[in-house]
Symmetry: C2
Subunit: 253 residues, 2 copies
């Protein structure tokens, strides 16, 4: 089968627990001290009938540079990208917030954004097939296993994808530091939204900005206006989470 | 002089503009296409009387692995850490929010946190001399030059540092996912605060939790509870920014 690797204890445990990744084999360093996480990996592998094998640390070093594997590397099938049409069909009639990355090239940022997305209850993330990082081993690792808990949609045309979302009643929000409205001035709980985050330097393409229903900026308390894109994404997503949490509390009262 | 390097166009420009970093020399690749940023670096260097020199790209590759220098490497004096006593003295009588990192080891995270701190108007960041990353080239690069815009305090004892802050009327807030209170339930604008962020896996040490006046958690909309520490820090800091911005708007009305 077509194959990729994931590495690090937490990433492997997350992928095993999610149950929606096809494993080929798990390699465990025979020099590593066995700890509760390694034990957990063995137990989960046995439950799912996945082969694990002890190998010399040097073999793992060949697969993952700089020895960042923490003694565990899993050979798995590449992530299954979801078709946008299927995603829309799956969530018909319920709110399914989406994040769209327009040309975010740094794999660490893409991984961190996917991780925050899952924490924030975002249901799908849309990546362009060109102009941006797709899901590679670095993304998997930085996401801490979150790639297994969200629909990852790959598209040849972000314009088409956004138009399709709009036709299906998603509201499109662009994060743009030229915007007039602050990110906290929108009620995210009142709509099904798709949040576009732009490339680290270039920002969001004009063609996508034109399609947006709202443009929001994150206010700064200094002139140094240069948030990392994964931090900016987290700030907006968790404004949404805060609004949801506050609404729930009010209902409980 | 004792020396370190910073690299990348934006980092070098930020350091030149801030005016508080001592430069030895700037190396510019003679293979790189000159663009507005390279031109800006030349102009700023001339203004400040700093020598720049054109060298082969290969020479830069020896200084910065993986060719991430974007054609510019600057040799500068290491960052000047600020003494906590001097920091407290400098900000006597005004609010000066502080972020404290308890054992955050990943340099990318430390750099991204410093970057968000500056955007959020945080005045100081406290790093432990041991158990955590100090300011190295990766931190400088990931911070996008933000290290020149904030007081960076290094301490042998976070416990002592926190006690000193408390004696001087800072309120201590710990980010702890076991906390009962949500991060948005605190009024950050009403006090001078020091926010402690813990290590990626271990969280905040018990001795520091004990010293905290507030413990706050970031609510999640799923069971996947695993925010990256720099994203978690950004979410809490920008809750503070949002509160400040809302208060200012209300005053204007």
């Amino acid at each position: 089968m077509d194959e990729m690797i994931i590495y690090g204890k937490n990433s492997v445990i997350e992928a095993l627990e999610s149950g929606n990744r096809e494993f080929n084999k798990i390699l465990i360093s025979n020099n590593s001290h066995s700890d509760t996480k390694i034990e957990q990996i063995k137990v989960l592998s046995k439950q799912r009938g996945i082969v694990f094998q002890f190998v010399a640390k040097e073999k793992l070093n060949l697969l993952v540079p700089e020895g960042r594997h923490q003694g565990v590397v899993a050979q798995i099938a590449p992530i299954k990208y979801v078709e946008l049409e299927d995603f829309i069909e799956e969530y018909k009639g319920e709110n399914a917030p989406v994040v769209i990355l327009d040309g975010v090239e740094d794999s660490h940022n893409v991984g961190a954004i996917i991780r925050s997305c899952v924490c924030a209850g975002i249901k799908g993330i849309i990546l362009p097939s060109r102009r941006g990082a797709l899901v590679n081993s670095t993304v998997e690792k930085t996401s801490a296993g979150a790639t297994s808990h969200i629909s990852i949609i790959k598209t040849n045309s972000l314009v088409n994808a956004i138009q399709k979302l709009k036709e299906n009643d998603w509201w499109v929000i662009a994060s743009d530091h030229h915007a007039e409205q602050n990110h906290y001035e929108i009620d995210y709980t009142d709509m099904n939204f798709a949040l576009i985050m732009g490339a680290e330097h270039a920002g969001i393409s004009k063609s996508l900005l034109k399609l947006s229903d709202f443009k929001v900026k994150i206010p700064m308390l200094t002139k140094f206006n240069s948030l990392n894109v994964s931090n900016a994404a987290a700030i907006i997503m968790f404004e949404y989470v805060t609004q949801v949490a506050k609404k729930r509390e009010n209902k409980l009262r």
